[in-house]
């Protein structure tokens, strides 16, 4: 656990040592503020963060891979992965440390949006249960994006490819969600529905915390992390 926290805290600090970290935070806040001013902060509109959360699910799809694209590619490029491999740290603690640092960065990215909740409180009566559910959903969806980004970073040789690979996967899933019913009919679509993360996120947005949705995101995140561990372990053994 000590090695895992060492890797996590090093990576977390490194995220804020590069301008890219601040650019990600600024872009996220800017995007949220635009949606808030255009869609939420309008007279007669309900005091809810729903449209913000709907927007964030898409925005995070592009921002989370930017957090993780450096993680393992950079260690490989610098040669520091070799030093980690020679240390007592296990591959599992290394991958988990990388994931925790990116999750902590995601929390920092989300934090400034609480200012929008304060504005809602000042001018309306927001439902805090719904807002908390939305943030939980964002963290779970974000975890899924981050873990897929880590896997992309493990299997690709460059940061750019890692970024594109991670974004491409979920964009493809999103497009499939739109196109599949037209091609294959409603039956095939209903079979795919349980695997649709965007549909599951909608429940969180309206304040519904369904344990099956929570489990889904945790399982998918775990799968990506375990796959990353397996790939790194196989590299060590070959």
């Amino acid at each position: 656990m000590k090695t895992c926290s060492a890797i996590a805290s090093r990576d977390f600090r490194a995220f804020f040592l590069f301008p890219s970290g601040y650019v990600v935070i600024a872009l996220f806040l800017l995007g949220n503020s635009i949606v808030f001013m255009g869609d939420v902060f309008v007279q007669g509109q309900p005091a809810t963060m729903r449209s913000i959360f709907d927007f964030d699910v898409v925005l995070l799809l592009f921002l989370c891979p930017a957090i993780t694209m450096r993680s393992i590619c950079e260690e490989r490029r610098l040669g520091t992965l070799e030093l980690i491999s020679a240390s007592p740290a296990s591959v599992a603690s290394f991958v988990l440390g990388k994931f925790l640092s990116s999750l902590a960065a995601l929390v920092v990215i989300l934090l400034p949006t609480l200012f929008l909740v304060v504005l809602l409180e000042l001018y309306g009566q927001p439902d805090y249960g719904e807002i908390a559910s939305g943030y939980l959903g964002l963290l779970l969806v974000g975890s899924m994006y981050l873990s897929s980004g880590i896997l992309a970073s493990v299997i690709s040789g460059s940061q750019t490819i890692a970024y594109l690979l991670s974004v491409f996967f979920f964009v493809l899933l999103s497009l499939g969600r739109e196109a599949l019913p037209a091609w294959t009919g409603p039956d095939a679509w209903s079979m795919m529905k349980p695997f649709d993360p965007f549909l599951r996120m909608q429940d969180f947005t309206i304040g519904l915390i369904d344990s099956s949705n929570v489990l889904f995101f945790l399982l998918v995140t775990s799968w990506f992390l375990l796959a990353s561990i397996a790939v790194l372990e196989s590299e060590r053994r070959s």
Binding site: A6, T80, E82, L83, A86, S87, P88
Partner: protein, 218 residues
């Protein structure tokens, strides 16, 4: 101090990576301090210090931050003491607060060495520690390695044969991934019948012999 010699592609770096647990052996096993690297990698890693070629480091970190990170990676009981000892031994006192990316290659090599000895390993594996350094830096790093060899075994890979002649007690010569010769320099010269030969001539003769025979010489 053991010098690890061989032509490019002989298998020096691969062997070193295997000794440090970075790569697994294709067959057989490697014991470090009695610990099998395949089954007890973490225990073996605690008694081996490793400096890969080019001394990979995180350029954005300060020297002391990096050493702190490494001490946490090895879960050292007294990190402050370990860092202070390593900084003293490697002459890093003046640069501990500087970002690694701002240091000269010689200093970066020292930082790599400090990190490698942080957990006080009994075996230190150094892959071409003087490559890419200017002559003054080479002398400094070589002196440092000699000092470190006083209380530990050092396995040193280098292409600089004079370096081996100057500081190594024993030599291991590899060719085509196989052991070609092993021993101290006087006995290697004696066994090869080249008692007055330079290490360069000896290296060329033994490697050529291994290539012509296509296998292990001794």
């Amino acid at each position: 101090m053991v010098g690890f010699l061989g032509h490019n592609g002989a298998g020096k770096t691969t062997s070193m990576r295997m000794i440090c647990g970075v790569l697994p052996p294709s067959e057989g096993s490697i014991l470090v301090g009695g610990h099998d690297l395949q089954t007890h990698r973490a225990q073996a890693a605690r008694i081996v210090g490793y400096l890969p070629e080019g001394s990979p480091l995180y350029p954005e970190m300060r020297v002391v931050e990096y050493l702190r990170f490494r001490s946490r990676l090895y879960a050292l009981p007294d990190p402050a003491e370990a860092i202070s000892t390593a900084v003293d031994r490697c002459g890093l006192k003046d640069v501990v607060k500087r970002p690694i990316g701002h240091l000269s290659r010689g200093y970066r090599q020292r930082v790599g060495l400090a990190a490698a000895i942080l957990h006080d390993p009994s075996v230190l594996v150094l892959d071409e520690p003087t490559s890419g350094l200017d002559p003054l830096q080479v002398i400094e790093v070589r002196q440092l390695i000699e000092e470190l060899s006083a209380d530990r075994t050092i396995l040193l890979s280098t292409h600089v044969l004079q370096e081996v002649e100057a500081i190594c007690d024993r030599v291991i010569l590899l060719a085509r991934g196989r052991l070609v010769a092993e021993g101290d320099l006087p006995s290697l010269r004696r066994e090869s019948g080249m008692e007055d030969a330079s290490l360069e001539d000896l290296f060329v003769a033994l490697t050529a012999k291994a290539f012509s025979e296509g296998g292990v010489v001794s």
